[in-house]
Every structure is written in structure tokens, then in C-alpha cells.
């Protein structure tokens, strides 16, 4: 059974077509990255999965259940981080969690979940109206984790998170995936999707233009993130060896005393440390990122 199945889904808002004949299957246990620029229709798709929005044509099912028929049953087994949400400013972080625990008839300890997303007891006791954007995002992420959902739907989850928060979020996605949950994750940032997803779907102007494994995606976007390192000495071989062995690195090329390293977007420090540990000294470094536009160009044949 597929975790998510869209069958010819079209959604029009008046004259505007937000989604056009989208067919999509997300397998159970998969970490699926839903990639596309702002306005591509990612949130509309998620809103259809949650029955916030009804498709103009086509049908959608989640965990084997039609979204129009049994939406409540779906949401009982799904953890959601929606987009454009707001919290209840007068309820504390802990009360938010308690509310979800009761709503889902779960037995999680609110404090455990808040700890997992990095909110401490002091924050938990404060009304959520006073939270920063990042704290709010962490709170809602914790709410999504209640009752070990079979499916996590995360709409632009790293919005408002600092680099530490973004790392925490990726860590959580990995943990939840290991537990057996399916994760559906939307983003307009290539690096994030690349870092955690098994499969990627690319949405542009309401059409699903590609669905690929993340490895294939990486191949096609050769140089997703490239770290250019210039060495102060000529210990190129030692550095090359050290870097090639890292699992965050997909390919390396050397040219004299400079290295071009294709790697995961947040692997910069790991790589630089490995180089220094190997006895080479870094004189200078610079990273370049393939943009989403580059990726679309690859998939659509360079029209853009």
C-alpha cells in the first residue's frame, strides 16, 4: 500500500490553475522530498492531502484512505507541520502538546517531545504567543511527533530555523524514518531535500516534472554543492585520500593544490576538519551551490 497516492489531481482557484493532472505515489517508509519554487503548488498539494482544499478533478488517498471520505482517520495517524499556521498565543508550549496528546488519545509525555525539538522547561511553561519564529516552528514540529505517526507531512519545515534548528530537524526526520514512518517533506531548498530524502519529486507551475531517487538527482545535478579548497602546502594526495573516504562526499577532483569537492550542503566543516587532520593546511575555501533553477534546467531540458 502506498502512503500517499495522487491520481490525476487538478486544482483550480478561479482562473488560476494551482495543480495540473498530478499523479504521484509515495511508498510506505520512504522519505519523500517535494521540491519546487514558491508558488509551484506544494502547499496546495499538502492542503489536498489534509482535506483543507478539495481537488477540482482527480482523487487523493493517504495511508490507503480517500482524503474526502475519511480525513479524520488520516489525521489520526499523521503528524503535520502545516504552512502558514499560527499557534494559540495564550496557551503554553506544554499545553499545546497536551492538547495534541489528548486529541490523539496518545500517551506521550509532552516534556519528552519538547526536549526532542530542543525546547526546555522554561520555554514549555511560557505562553506560545511570546515564542520566536524558530521556537514556534520547533513547537509545532513536536506536536507533529505526538503518537508516533505513520506519516509525517512537513511543509517547508526549516522555515524560521537557524542552522542548528535545521540540523535538529534533519536528525528528527532520520529518526522518525528509522522508526518506520513515512516522511513527506516539502522545500524550495535543494540542499535540505538532498540531505535527508530517499526520493524527490519536483513540482513546477503545478506540474510534477520529475520523480527520482535522490542518488539520480545528485548525478543529474553534478555539483549540487561544491566546496573549493585551496591548500597552503602541497599535501594534495593526503588531503584527497582523507576527503574521498567521507560519506558526505560524492566526488572529488584535484587540480594542483586545489580541490573541488562535491558534497552534502552542510558538510563543509566535516570536510575541512578531515583535511586538517590529514596534515594538510587549508589556505582558502569557497562553496558554490547549484540553484533550484539549475536543477529545473536539467530536468526540463534547459528551457529556463
Amino acid at each position: 500500500m502506498a502512503a500517499i497516492e495522487l491520481d490525476g489531481v487538478t486544482k483550480r482557484f478561479g482562473d488560476v490553475t494551482a495543480l495540473e493532472e498530478v499523479d504521484l505515489t509515495v511508498e510506505e517508509g520512504e522519505v519523500f522530498g517535494f521540491l519546487g519554487p514558491n508558488g509551484a503548488g506544494k502547499s496546495t498539494t499538502i492542503n489536498i492531502l489534509l482535506d483543507f482544499v478539495r481537488p477540482t478533478a482527480g482523487s487523493a488517498s493517504v495511508l490507503g484512505v480517500d482524503t474526502r471520505e475519511e480525513s479524520k482517520a488520516i489525521r489520526d495517524r499523521t503528524g503535520v507541520l502545516p504552512e502558514g499556521y499560527d499557534v494559540y498565543e495564550r496557551l503554553t508550549g506544554r499545553e499545546h502538546l497536551q492538547f495534541v496528546v489528548e486529541a490523539k488519545d496518545a500517551d506521550d509525555d509532552p516534556m519528552d517531545l519538547l526536549e526532542r525539538v530542543g525546547l526546555d522547561a522554561e520555554a514549555a511553561a511560557r505562553p506560545a504567543g511570546g515564542y520566536s519564529k524558530g521556537m514556534t516552528q520547533r513547537l509545532v514540529l513536536a506536536m507533529a511527533l505526538v503518537d508516533q505517526p505513520d506519516l509525517l507531512i512537513l511543509d517547508e519545515p526549516s522555515t524560521g530555523l537557524d542552522p542548528n534548528g535545521a540540523r535538529m530537524m534533519r536528525e528528527l526526520v532520520r529518526e522518525e524514518s528509522e522508526r518506520g514512518a513515512t516522511v513527506f517533506f516539502s522545500s524550495h531548498i535543494l540542499g535540505q531535500v538532498e540531505a535527508v530524502c530517499d526520493t524527490v519529486g519536483i513540482l513546477q507551475d503545478g506540474r510534477l516534472i520529475a520523480k527520482d531517487s535522490v542518488d539520480e538527482l545528485r548525478d543529474r545535478t553534478e555539483g549540487g554543492t561544491t566546496l573549493h579548497v585551496t591548500l597552503a602546502d602541497s599535501a594534495t594526495d593526503a588531503a584527497l585520500e582523507a576527503v574521498t573516504g567521507l560519506d558526505v562526499v560524492s566526488s572529488v577532483s584535484a587540480d594542483g593544490d586545489s580541490l573541488a569537492i562535491n558534497c552534502e550542503s552542510d558538510a563543509k566543516m566535516t570536510i575541512l576538519n578531515a583535511i586538517e587532520d590529514a596534515g594538510a593546511e587549508v589556505a582558502d575555501f569557497e562553496t558554490t551551490e547549484a540553484s533550484l533553477e539549475d536543477l529545473f534546467a536539467t530536468y526540463t531540458g534547459g528551457d529556463r
Binding site: F13, N47, D76, P82, K104, D107, P110, M143
Partner: protein
Amino acid sequence: MSGRDDRNMRSDMSGVDAALRDQFDWYPVAKEFKDAIRSRGFLVLSVLFTVFFMLPPASVVFGFFDFGPQGQDIGMQFLISSVYLNMVTLLVPVVALFVGYAAITKERTSGSLKLLLSLPFSRRDVLVGKVVGRCVVAGVTLGFALALTALFFVASELTFKGDLFGLFVLYTMAFTVVFVAIVVSISGAFSTSFRSAIASFFVYFYFTFGWNSLANGIGDLLADYLGVTGSLRWNVVLLVKLVNPNQAYKTLTNSMLAEGSNAMRSSRFGMFSQNSTQMQEICTGVLNGNATVQRGLFGNTTVCGESARSIPFYVSDPAVFVYMVAWIGVAAALAYYTFNIVDL
């Protein structure tokens, strides 16, 4: 209290709670109540209600009004009919409007509705939760105000009639809950708080000032174009009048105040002001009464007295009460229908 204690408490509650939970999820109600009770608006509302309701008996207690020995016995009725009746019908809907106009639209525009509907709640749960939650908030506040009012009545030199006051509380509570339910339902049917407020105000205005002409207009239409005359015409007009919660509340309270075997009839009859012939038609044909004409200083008045027949059940007090509270269901059902089909 920890989550674990909470759950144990809940599992101890059996039967009714489980049955209710089958029908609805009540958690939105609990959350709604918790949330509302902490708002500044709630405090303002409580103070407003309490001050307004307490004022009449308090002014008697502190000697601003003196009813005299003869007035003491009917003083409470006098205050209810001359002060409370208008105060409740004018003030309560305005308060209801403030309590409820943004109940759903605010969550919809801010995005907290998305958070709520990400949880296993249906839109029906949310709507019912909002309606019940806000009604409870308004009801608790009003209950507090009425309890204090009762204390002041007891403390005053006026005779406190417990059964009468009890009915007044029942009708006033019902009327308040009806208006809150209508306003919250309207909030569910509109996309912004501004539109919801406008629509609620329009409904309030129409119920208060426009409905009678609607009722009479329907009567005229029936008579002029469809040839429906006599008692059938006036039956329809009376029923249309009674469907208005505002008029239902007034006639119920008047009937309560009249305190006699002819109370229902005379208060229903008091809802009309037609010419003498028509008034007699209404008395005998609709209310099964005995019409007599009394000559007074300002011309003839028709009085509708008792007869061998009793007033038809569909215009009796219990029926009128049912019409009034039926609005809660009607409003919620209409709101559910619109709320359920929209894209959020």
C-alpha cells in the same frame, strides 16, 4: 496535574462521556474554554454583564429607588418588564456579537485553524466545539451576573419570587446561548472577521427591528394575493413572529410576569397591534380566547380573555421555548454546510 493523571481521570468517567465522544470530539470545547477564559475580552464581558444586571436591584438596595409598601410585592416584576426585558434584548445580542463574531474567522485568517484541523478533528467537531465553547463562556459569565442579581434582589426590600426569577434565568440564558450560537455559526460561514461582524450585525438588526414588518408583510401577502384570510392568516403571522428569538424571549418573559391562567394568551395577544376587528379575529381564531371590547379614555381596546378552549399547543410557552432554542441547531447546521464545502 500531569498528563497521566488526566488520563486516569478520564478513563474513570464512563458511559455518557464515551457516548458523547462517539458523536463528537469534545476537546475543542475544553481548549476553547481554556483559551477564552484567559482573554481580556472575557474579563470585560464579565464586568459588563455583572454591572448591568446588578444595577437595578442594587439601586433599590442603596435607596435610589423607593417602591413604597404597595410596590414591594410586584417590584421585581416591574423591574424585569420595564428594565431587564429591553436591556437583555438590546444588550445581549451585542455582547454575543463581541463574543462570537471572530470565533472561527480569526482562527481561519491567522492560521491556527490549520493547526487545529491537522489534528484528528473534523470540521464539524471544530464548529460544534466553537459554538458550545463560546456559549459556555457567555453562559457562565451571565450565570455569575444573574446570581449576583438574585442576591441583590434578596437583600432589597422587594419581594424575591424564586420560581419567577428561575424562569427569567432560564429564558435569559437560552436567549443568550441562542444569539451566541447564531453569531459563532455566522463566523463559520464567512471568510473574514469583518464580513462575519457585518453579517451578525445585520441579523441582529433584522431580528430586533425588521422582523415584525416581515411577519406582517407575509400576512398581507397571503391576504392580498393568495386569498388567505381569517385565522389562518393570523396563525401564520403569529408563528413567523414567534420564530424570531427576540420576540420569543419577550413574549415568554411577559407570560411569566403575567402569572395567571390567561398569561400565555394575553402575552401572545400583546404581540399584535391591529384594528379592532382583526384583533378579535386573532383572539378567537388563533388563541382560542374570548374577545371583549373595553371602552377606555383613548378609544376601544380589545381584551383577549379566557374561554372554554385552551390556547393551541404550537403557540404555548413550551412550544415558543422550543422555537427559540431550535435556532442553535438551525444556525449550526447552516454554518456547517457552508464551512464544510469551502477551501481553507
